[in-house]
């Protein structure tokens, strides 16, 4: 992906691309084994000591567990420069981490969507900010 350096996430601490691969920022509890996303969204197993929560990056690829196609624009504060409606929303499963995460589906033929297909994490350009940076969100795309 070109010009990664000039991109900035609309809200920090959700998606990382510093390694060159786009990956979601999760946290894992060493005590109960639960993964969280966003990483501050703690959902410990009852009785867990809650000790040893560490930041982890999720794998880049997962499987489509469910999806929908949204036919009307998402209201503000959501915004994109380009019209994206209708857009796909996927629920992508990271099997080893036992977690499913929602995300906009981009750069994929929406008619080709099928539960079980392989998806990878990517970035979606939203708009350019005052500092001329490209503001982005995380998204999923079908593995080609």
């Amino acid at each position: 992906m070109e010009n990664m350096a000039n991109k900035v996430a609309r809200i920090p601490n959700l998606v990382d691309w510093s390694t060159g691969e786009v990956r979601l920022m999760s946290a894992k509890c060493a005590s109960c084994g639960t993964y969280f996303f966003p990483k501050e969204h703690y959902q410990h197993r009852p009785g867990c000591s809650r000790e040893g929560v560490e930041d982890v990056l999720l794998p880049q690829k997962g499987k489509l567990a469910s999806y929908t196609i949204q036919y009307y624009p998402c209201p503000a504060p959501f915004k994109t420069e380009k019209k994206i409606t209708p857009y796909g929303i996927g629920l992508v499963e990271f099997e080893g981490e036992k977690i499913q995460i929602t995300g906009i589906i981009t750069d994929t033929d929406l008619k080709s969507l099928k539960i079980g297909m392989e998806m990878e994490t990517t970035l979606l350009d939203m708009y350019t900010n005052k500092e001329k940076q490209q503001v982005v969100t995380w998204a999923f795309t079908a593995v080609k």
Binding site: A9, R10, I11, N13, L14, F36, F37, P38, E40, H41, Q43, H44, R45, P46, A65, S66, Y67, T68, I69, Q70, Y71, Y72, C74, P75, A76, P77, F78, I84, Y87, I89, L91, E93, F94, E95, K98, I99, Q100, I101, T102, G103, I104, I115, M126, T137, W138
Partner: protein
């Protein structure tokens, strides 16, 4: 007002919870956006409840108020605003918010206050004015409130969450688009017979299937909008008031549930869910309903009328399973076979449901209880479930909120 001595004597009542009855209910009919303020709607509902119960305002010993979250300071202190309209008497006024299960919280607090002997006669109410346009984020702090993330970055209006679950259901159990449309057909037929309903037009399967997708597989007529409305319920253990009431309705249980770790449902406002289930879907509603069955000794097989939260056609199906009216994946067959119609053993949403009303957050759970009470009191005219003796109102609120109320006559 009760004296301190009376309060001590009443401690005895706390050891043996006493029976609590609904003696008055009131509704302000559901509608779209209004320039009127929420307190106007609340006042109409409360006035109607007082008239129905044939009691004067001064008989009310506590107010359990549902918070109107879009109403600023007034909405957050809705009970105080309501009390000042009818006249302030110094009684306890508690304001509560549990998303769309707010009304469940208010009636449960009213019930517990009376059952424990703290009060004799208590009011629960809620009123909401639909915000113009869409519901959206209410803060700007993404670390504190992940709702901000779903709106700013996720592109996730509420119906998307239902569509994601609905798609999973279709894949797993073979639910069809016709099944989803059939829910609306049934709800519109009942809604057309309900004077309190906002939407009174009836639809055929073909008409529903022609309506546009909002988020595939859910269509415009298969999801409910936000509405304006008010509802009030007066509960009592006062024997004199019960004796003079028109068909008082006994509350056998009124409970609330929260979610259970490992619930695989993708909850509204969340960005993730577990992929390996360790708890039932919609576990907050599983919890609330099972508590109610246990407390009341009444089970799904005993229930004549069920008001469930049909925020979408998917909800209608899944709630029959969550609450134990059939096994997992069996609701579609129940629907197709006509086992949820008025006239069948179980009548589901004879009111026309949220599909015919829309959601009025703090009022809707009470409105469901009122429909149940009206059915038990034989007041439902063309949509009356003949001989209804046992009814259940089931709510669903986002982020793990739910309530169940079981009533008998």
């Amino acid at each position: 007002m009760k004296s301190f001595y009376d309060a001590i004597v009443n401690l005895k009542g706390m050891m043996t919870m006493r029976d609590v009855y609904i003696i008055g209910t009131g509704i302000h009919p559901w509608m779209g956006f209004s320039e009127q303020v929420f307190a106007d709607f609340a006042a109409v509902a409360v006035d109607n409840a007082l008239k129905d119960a044939s009691i004067e305002w001064k008989k009310i010993e506590a107010i359990m108020a549902g918070i109107f979250i879009y109403g600023g300071n007034a909405g957050h202190l809705s009970g105080q605003y309501l009390e000042s309209i009818f006249g302030e008497t110094g009684i306890p006024v508690v304001n509560v918010y549990n998303a769309c299960a707010t009304g469940s919280a208010s009636i449960r607090m009213a019930y517990n206050s009376i059952a424990a002997g703290e009060t004799e006669t208590t009011l629960a109410f809620g009123a909401d004015v639909s915000p113009k346009g869409f519901l959206t984020a209410k803060s700007d702090n993404a670390v504190q409130d992940r709702d901000v993330i779903r709106w700013k970055m996720g592109g996730l209006p509420n119906p998307i969450y239902w569509a994601l679950e609905c798609r999973k259901r279709m894949e797993k159990y073979g639910t069809t688009e016709e099944d989803l449309a059939l829910v609306k057909v049934l709800m519109s037929e009942y809604g057309s017979k309900n004077p309190h309903a906002r939407f009174k037009k009836t639809y055929s399967i073909e008409e529903v299937l022609k309506s546009v997708y909002v988020c595939d597989p859910l269509r415009l007529y298969e999801i409910c909008p936000v509405s304006t409305g008010g509802a009030a319920v007066i509960l009592t253990a006062d024997e004199e008031l019960i004796a003079k009431a028109d068909n008082p309705v006994k509350i056998n249980a009124t409970t609330m549930g929260s979610a259970i770790y490992g619930d695989p449902t993708i909850r509204i406002s969340a960005l993730s869910c577990p992929s390996v289930p360790e708890a039932p879907m919609l576990s907050e509603s599983y919890s609330a309903s099972r508590q109610a069955y246990e407390k009341s000794g009444i089970g799904p097989e005993d229930i004549d009328v069920l008001e469930l939260p049909d925020n979408s056609s998917w909800h209608y199906l899944v709630y029959l399973e969550t609450c134990g009216f059939c096994g997992e994946g069996e609701a579609d067959k129940m629907l197709r076979d006509g086992e949820t119609k008025i006239g069948a053993k179980l009548a589901v949403n004879p009111s026309g449901g949220f599909s015919s009303h829309g959601e009025a957050l703090s009022a809707q759970a009470l409105w469901q209880v009122i429909e149940c009470a009206n059915q038990l009191r034989g007041r439902c005219g063309e949509r009356q479930v003949e001989g209804a003796k046992v009814a259940m109102a089931q709510t669903y609120g986002l982020m793990g909120n739910s309530g169940t109320t079981i009533m008998t006559i």
